[in-house]
Symmetry: D2
Amino acid sequence: MKIGKATTPSSAICTSDEDTIVVRGRDLCAEVIGKLSFTEYFFLLLTGKAPTKATLKVLDATLVAITEHGLVPSVQAARMTYAASPEALQGAVAAGLLGCGSVILGASANAGEMLDEVKQRMSSGKSLQDSARDVVSEYRAARKPLPGYGHPLHKSRDPRVSALFNTASEAGSDLSYVEIAEEIEKVIPEIVGKPLKLNVSAAIPAVLLGAGFPLQALRGVPILARSAGLVAHLYEEQQSPIGFALSYQATREYEYTGDMPSND
Amino acid sequence: MKIGKATTPSSAICTSDEDTIVVRGRDLCAEVIGKLSFTEYFFLLLTGKAPTKATLKVLDATLVAITEHGLVPSVQAARMTYAASPEALQGAVAAGLLGCGSVILGASANAGEMLDEVKQRMSSGKSLQDSARDVVSEYRAARKPLPGYGHPLHKSRDPRVSALFNTASEAGSDLSYVEIAEEIEKVIPEIVGKPLKLNVSAAIPAVLLGAGFPLQALRGVPILARSAGLVAHLYEEQQSPIGFALSYQATREYEYTGDMPSND
Amino acid sequence: MKIGKATTPSSAICTSDEDTIVVRGRDLCAEVIGKLSFTEYFFLLLTGKAPTKATLKVLDATLVAITEHGLVPSVQAARMTYAASPEALQGAVAAGLLGCGSVILGASANAGEMLDEVKQRMSSGKSLQDSARDVVSEYRAARKPLPGYGHPLHKSRDPRVSALFNTASEAGSDLSYVEIAEEIEKVIPEIVGKPLKLNVSAAIPAVLLGAGFPLQALRGVPILARSAGLVAHLYEEQQSPIGFALSYQATREYEYTGDMPSND
Amino acid sequence: MKIGKATTPSSAICTSDEDTIVVRGRDLCAEVIGKLSFTEYFFLLLTGKAPTKATLKVLDATLVAITEHGLVPSVQAARMTYAASPEALQGAVAAGLLGCGSVILGASANAGEMLDEVKQRMSSGKSLQDSARDVVSEYRAARKPLPGYGHPLHKSRDPRVSALFNTASEAGSDLSYVEIAEEIEKVIPEIVGKPLKLNVSAAIPAVLLGAGFPLQALRGVPILARSAGLVAHLYEEQQSPIGFALSYQATREYEYTGDMPSND
């Protein structure tokens, strides 16, 4: 039995023979290793083009901004997994990445789509303010959350937001999505009835889209960033284990709400 | 029931409150975002110290060297997974990383341990050549493979090896592990009976250990690197799917070797 | 920093002390081990109730129906992962399960929701035929695929469908969702313009919902079933490896569509 | 580039065409669905043979014994993952399985190897007691832990042990590995200096090896069992979420041990 389509697999990313590895049209060994930083190379692999200086600055800043935020659930899951399966570091990193889904880190990509919707309204002649109001109102009407606004810990603005916006501004990167993100923040109180401040999940697409990062690839940014954070945590876990201690603490006040056997 | 130890979890990596995120003793927003590259930050998170220029150069080069090598098994697994589960990019990246184990990318860490064993012999006064010979002979006697030597495709030396060694040399990084790696390559023919050339898995620890990267954290390097390659492949998969085509091709000549039902 | 909610974790599934493990109100060692089959226990853990004989028969049949279907993409991904990382069987199973997503095995849960929508229309007095027509028409209008109808290989009806329906019928299980599934199959040609036959993904919820299996838990059924199939494949992989051969075959006709370096 | 071997993939597990699915020589739809339980089918897929009644009884009992043990680390990791990524149930199950590694559930397979070593000594004529003593002494000399003996919670014998041994005995299954396991328990105090009671990880191979379950496939048993437990927990998580509450509790007493920024 054959599963899948009878087509020939192709890719524009890499080819190689015994002597040469070609990536995106460049000789890996002659033109890339030692010449490009890891971040520059990531952008090249993803888009086929080397980043400009401004784009590189912005991409490095966004990766740095979300690499690490302490013992968040995905880091806890990874450290518990490593404690139980120290033979497979890759499994513990994978377990941590599996928590980079829609609720937490996936919000960046959703926020990017919202910003892009506003941008599209503007390209048909509507003002920034009206476009932002329309999109926020439509999200509210459809009872969709506003991705990238509000944060359980940072009730005022998430401090990473300004750091990212300043970096984009100093790098001379396009700020049009930043303006959109800030306009959305401004119109939220009147439409939603309470202030929801920009958090890092909206700031990331705001600066990345302006820097030419593809909208459809946004979900990959937190995943790559967290891989670095997870590797750091798992190295610490190897040296100073807390995986099982986290698990102990988590259930210290555990309540069983089911039935007990009747002892007849 | 409590699982795990009754100890308090601690970590030296990150803390935060409503206004500030502190990573390795630095204010993330004031001192890190926009100031450090992703690679610099990775080294800081992992070791607690900022990398020197030479270390940064070498770490970037090693990450770049192993980020991508075409449609290797782990990339195929990731693209098939994404084709079947496009709602979960994180799952496809995780599936790809799960193939970064002992046989393929895990060889870097094992090679690092072998280089380090030679180094330790030397620190007790033995010559480089004798130390290399002893360690290679012991691996052979124990029937252990020599991790980082030999490659199915690159029968002569993997071209990434020279690129990494040149980068380390130009950056002014410590080359003592590079010398060890080359000495091992020299003594292999007489001991093993055939030439096994240095491949990228031995070159990575050779340059990284000289640059001050922790031996115990080597396994994390290919995992982080491949995350970037996987994100690039999965973005291409989203735009130009081949996941099911790979699966079709893989079983075009499939043979079922079991029994068939008897049609009585 | 605290992530998450300040509430006390509770669960109705299990509690234990030094002498006793209680699951869903029963003493695991005195009342469950050796008394319940694995399938009965799965239903008990999931719902808190032991299955009736009819429910058990149907649940066993559905699990059996989707445990195995040859070298499908998720099995290929798992075998490639195991070949690269033989130290971590759990990682290879996980890689295989990560392909049990929305496109392939996730269709069962989506089909269950479609059947349930028809059921709900009927409970407000509409006829089976009208309810089925309305729901299929609405899916078409919204350009949503009809989950569980059509199959790339089994152009006529998937043979597993009748086997499941017969099992449910012989077991005396409620067949009302089976009737809904068959009515949908009947109305498809006029609405869609081509016949799309019931496949196993619609047959599974058709029999399971009638057997009292919770709609919201349907996604777990193929995941559990495939775990068994993956363990069998990975045991065969350990004894007769084909993981790398699959990868080789998959790229035999690979085409690189990117640029080549200019050799100036 | 081609990765992998130029061989044709083959498998003895399954083949299919448009009308028939054949598994291990049987017609899935005519001979398996509705006829075999999930556990019987798992054994058939794995070994190519249907289990005897005694083997089925023992295999069901072992699967049941380790499906569930409350909010253990892998369940916590899975529930945290699901809370963050509810769009991907398969990812949360995978995250949980990734913790089924060497330290916790992997012990079953290691214990099986230890029992088998004793069995092999006996087959060369040595007594049960001497064989057990020799193997335990060798493990101690090599500073290897004794897998399957001792338990953090169940200081006396894990109650699942007797339940499994009784099931095997009542089913008329071969008890020779059970005798080995109990002999090891007897000789431990004199060799190790303290009593380490049989736990479920040694009891599982003790009954399964006697029932004809393949030694090399033991690692798959807890993985399959835990898949069922994880699906039950994740269904409860969907209905009554505690994933983020677990994470909150885990870090309530978190201590940051790194430096703080100097505020100059």
